[in-house]
């Protein structure tokens, strides 16, 4: 006899599809770690290279994270140490009144719609553990006082959202107490690091940088090969063979840039821009294959690791006997250089206050770090009329400028890049006020979130920035997004491809070099990308 099959009614089927999210409070809403939102776990060998604790291979999507048996003890002791060491962390744990001013300022919240990405709630994930274990009210009243026990699910939830914050600090701009969510994320990641819960995308570059001086693990010959390739391209385009030096003792200036500029397009075009500019000026500078990384992924692991990786910059400046340092276009590199390097590895009393060899301008703003940003250097050259520029070579480009979080909010570098752009392109349009300068929206992929496996997350975080680009594209026909950050150059390309197809990404010095009229150059037919210059399309 055939079994009777019960066919569900349409209404029953429709009800089985859950279209509405749960209405539970955040503490009672479990977090599911989903593919597309997280980066792969660190490899034990990379953690071992820099002697990070609990080094092992692990996978965030597996149930077992292979934690040490006493992981709670390690976490809570680590938290106690950090609370004692950093007064700011203690204050940030205590002071939030949950006013919500930060809630809708985060690009990840705006793009994801996930309440746990509101900065206040993301911090609350960690703060609830703090209350439970470090405050009297929390110890006595637990959940009533906003506390919760550090269970394995709580640990996983904290980890998941710590790696959905790019430490961009936009939220802190709106906090009436000045709570810096970036610092909370840093503390949280430092705690995760104690348990070996790092990501592959961060720990790999850290290990590379520790061993070889740069995130990509490029050895001296690879760096020189890469730059040789650029020199060939420059010669093809301009007829001029630039001749940079490497590891040259006695040079006046050491130039340090993120290694992304050496290998990843469109950063390589920016790098060609530096080479052409410095050659044209004839300045006495050198590259280093040892201090071959301005970026610092150690900054996304622990304070101590960031300090160790940063130390090579001053060490190399001292070894080569240069007078000061110029740094390339990078974002977090500059947060580290302006706000940490001096106290970590200074004083740089063996260096001079930077003075432009071309204009004589003394960069008082860098009198302590002895390191200036290349856009400060170039803006000064233009201001003093030292560059011959033909902005019409960039006439096919309608440009807008994305302020990188770290250079804008971290060091107030707002005017120099814009000043340069206005001199090297004829078509420049700003994005809306509440999306630029101090209020700039993050690219969505900083702090080591620029892996590929978390692409959904990156696109969520990139939405607010892309939305503003889309607006100027529709209004002014913008087709090029300029910026001064290597991670921006790499990741905004994908973001534009998804959200605003037709807009490309460039560094500022690529546009400078396009416009730069070099002594003895041949008539240029193409820009640095090999695209025909305006008016030369038929050649």
């Amino acid at each position: 006899m055939a079994t009777k099959v019960t066919t569900p009614k349409p209404a029953e089927l429709a009800e089985s599809i859950k279209l509405i999210p749960p209405k539970t409070e955040w503490m009672d809403t479990p977090t599911e770690i989903k593919p597309g939102t997280f980066c792969w776990g660190a490899k034990g060998k990379n953690l071992g290279i820099v002697e990070f604790p609990n080094a092992r291979d692990w996978n965030p999507s597996e149930e077992d994270w292979k934690l040490p048996e006493n992981w709670q003890e390690i976490f809570l002791k680590g938290m106690k140490d950090l609370l004692g060491k950093y007064r700011s962390f203690q204050v940030f744990m205590d002071i939030c009144v949950r006013c919500g001013a930060c809630a809708d300022k985060c690009h990840f919240f705006i793009g994801s719609g996930d309440p746990k990405n509101m900065p206040v709630l993301r911090a609350e994930l960690l703060r609830s553990v703090y209350r439970n274990d470090f405050t009297t009210a929390g110890k006595l009243l637990g959940k009533l006082a906003g506390g919760r026990k550090l269970t394995i699910d709580v640990l996983k939830e904290i980890w998941y959202y710590l790696y959905q914050c790019t430490e961009c600090r936009r939220c802190s701009l709106f906090c009436p107490y000045g709570i810096d969510t970036a610092e909370i994320t840093m503390m949280g990641r430092e705690l995760m690091n104690l348990l070996g819960l790092n990501t592959d995308w961060i720990s790999g570059p850290v290990a590379n940088c520790y061993m070889k001086g740069n995130h990509l693990g490029l050895e001296p010959h690879a760096i020189m090969n890469s730059i040789e390739g650029m020199i060939d391209d420059i010669e093809t385009i301009t007829g001029i063979r630039v001749n940079p030096s490497f590891n040259r003792k006695g040079a006046e200036i050491l130039f340090v840039t993120p290694s992304g500029d050496l290998f990843a397009d469109p950063g390589t075009f920016t790098c060609m821009g530096y080479l052409m500019l410095f050659h044209e000026l004839g300045i006495d500078y050198t590259w280093s294959t040892y201090a071959s990384e301005g970026g610092n992924f150690g900054f996304f692991t622990s304070n101590e690791m960031a300090k160790r990786l940063n130390s090579k910059i001053y060490a190399e400046a001292k070894r080569l006997g240069v007078k000061y340092i110029i740094g390339g276009e990078c974002g977090h590199m500059w947060r580290v250089l302006t706000q940490y390097m001096d106290t970590w590895n200074g004083p740089a009393d063996f260096l001079d206050v930077p003075v432009s060899p071309i204009t004589g301008t003394r960069f008082e703003n860098a009198k302590s770090t002895k390191m200036i940003h290349v856009t400060e250097f170039t803006a000064d050259l233009i201001k003093n009329g030292k560059l011959k520029l033909d902005p019409s070579r960039n006439n096919d480009l309608i440009v807008t400028y994305h302020d990188s979080c770290n250079t804008a909010r971290g060091m107030g570098l707002l005017e120099e890049p814009r000043y340069i752009l206005r001199n090297v392109v004829n078509n420049f349009h700003e994005m809306p006020d509440n999306t630029i300068r101090e209020q700039t929206f993050c690219c969505g992929s900083g702090t080591g979130l620029n892996a590929s496996e978390n692409m959904e997350l990156r696109m969520r975080g990139g939405l607010p920035r892309a939305n503003a680009v889309k607006f100027v594209k529709e209004k002014h026909g913008v087709n090029m997004l300029a910026n001064i950050c290597a991670i921006d150059r790499a990741t905004l390309s994908a973001s534009m491809d998804y959200w605003v197809p037709g807009v490309r990404v460039t560094g500022v010095h690529e546009l400078v070099a396009n416009a730069l009229i070099m002594k003895g150059e041949k008539e240029r037919e193409t820009n640095l990308r090999g695209d025909p210059l305006p008016g030369k399309e038929g050649n």
């Binding site: 509405i20 809708d104 793009g111 309440p115 809306p432 692409m455 959904e456 969520r460 607006f471 994908a494």
Partner: protein, 190 residues
């Protein structure tokens, strides 16, 4: 009264209820933000939805034009394709328009209600639903492309570093299509 007139009369009520049902697909705290933040740059998701559903509804009224309506569907679905939603959740908002319209104009209808026209309108909404499915899949395919392209670029650079790819440059036809010919690589002098 014609269906067109009924819909015109109830336009703002329908749009408002449709918007509410879409907001219900987000957590409560998020819905508050999406509803209250009026600046389009501070609230791109809310703006895309309100702007998009208005345009979609008006297009239905004028007679559905796939080319005209697709960009507005795209703006909403492109966002939902990367948010924490299942495919059904991402495109369900189209079906909810049927329910909203029925509740606004048809439930209490008596006498000579233009049922035939309503059925035709619902069929047009079904067309929107299948278009939405196409757009959703395209967005997801784009994401996979982005992932694959980044991995390919990385691999290409690694190969270039050990000199197995020779002189091919990013931007060359082979690279752009991802079709780096293995045989050709072998011919490159080492």
């Amino acid at each position: 009264m014609s269906l067109e007139n009924l819909l015109s009369e109830k336009r703002s009520a329908i749009l408002s209820r449709w918007y509410d049902t879409i907001l219900e697909t987000y957590p409560a705290e998020t819905a508050v933000y999406l509803r209250s933040q009026e600046n389009r740059f501070a609230n791109p998701v809310g703006h895309s939805i309100t702007h998009g559903i208005e345009a979609i509804f008006d297009d239905l009224m004028r007679g559905l034009d796939v080319e005209r309506v697709s960009p507005f569907l795209d703006t909403i679905i492109r966002i939902r394709a990367v948010q924490d939603m299942t495919p059904s959740q991402a495109v369900s908002f189209i079906f909810s328009l049927k329910k909203v319209i029925r509740e606004e104009i048809a439930l209490d209808a008596q006498g000579d209600f233009p049922w035939q026209d309503l059925l035709a309108l619902e069929s047009a909404i079904d067309v929107l639903a299948v278009l939405s499915f196409d757009i959703f899949v395209k967005c997801r395919e784009k994401l996979y492309d982005l992932k694959a392209n980044e991995m390919r670029k990385m691999t290409f650079r690694l190969l270039q570093r050990v000199n197995t790819v020779g002189d091919e440059k990013e931007g060359s036809p082979e690279f752009a299509t991802g079709d780096i010919d293995n045989d050709k690589q072998k011919e490159v002098p080492q």
